[in-house]
Amino acid sequence: MADDPQRNFRSAYYEKVGFRGVEEKKSLEILLKDHPLDLEKLSTFSQRFPLPSMYRIHVWKVLLGILPPHSDSHTLVGGYRKEQYQDILEGLEVMRYINSSTPSTHVYLRMFQLESQVLPRCSETSPPDEENEDFLSISRAMEEIVDDPIDCYWLIKCFVNQFHMKFGDSVPHLPKSLEHYLSQEEPRLLNHLKNSGALAQLPYSLWFRRCFAGCLPESSLQRVWDKVISGSCKILVFVALEILLSYKIMLMGINRPEGVVKFLCNIPQENTDAIVTKAIDLWHKYCGTPMHAV
């Protein structure tokens, strides 16, 4: 009791200097002790707060179903996942789809194709198409976030699969949604993009199909993916919106649509953390903060 005010003071202090996560980390730790794990609560938590980096991979694996809710099954199931990874890898090696010099992201692509039953014949392998490029982009980003190759493959695979299953139908509507929110926040910029013909050409596939992989540096990207993995694709709209708002002045000065696209595909990598923070605030403002049951 007596140290409560002190703790609050400390939290307030951390919040001010940027260590807001102290209380959050504690409540996540409590959630992770649940038996079995409550997926709904874990989702709500990561919708509301950034995941502490030491727990991120674990929470992602649970939310994506790589690990089951029962923690005492984790060793067994983790073993199965590892074996499956090794079996596939070995098979692809023997069949000469891959060798020791194949880049790991291409290895992941072949493994994914094998599991999705769309692996082309070895002699008929063609250069990667658009969908493969999306996969490779996400793989490259995931590889920066996750060290262990087995975890990395499973996270890529389940992230991509879950995204298609949950949001496949919503993705085509996201550009319209972006236009709507932009009209609320900055109608002048919207008009400029419309009139210059840039609106139709914005890098929607980079934003909404690759989920900003290859656009944001991983430290910012993982905070966006926290939200995607825990069940929101709307966040993607707000990150795109915040990018547009942040570079409003710059964009207002570009009249050729190609110039706009070129700039947006290579945005400066310095203040992306601030962009993501503001995007999450905007998202909470428009879509509400999910209630937290803890």
Partner: protein, 51 residues
Amino acid sequence: FLEDVKCQAKAELEASDNRHQAQKEITQLLQTELLQLYSRVEMEAPASTAT
């Protein structure tokens, strides 16, 4: 509690089955590859004896 045990067992079984499914996929690919390679070998064999 009983439901809980059942859920846990189901998740474990699914993971194990998933692994089995992947292995099956590999077997099928290996078979196709072998068949093609065999037919290639047989096509080439008479050609090389003819020269």
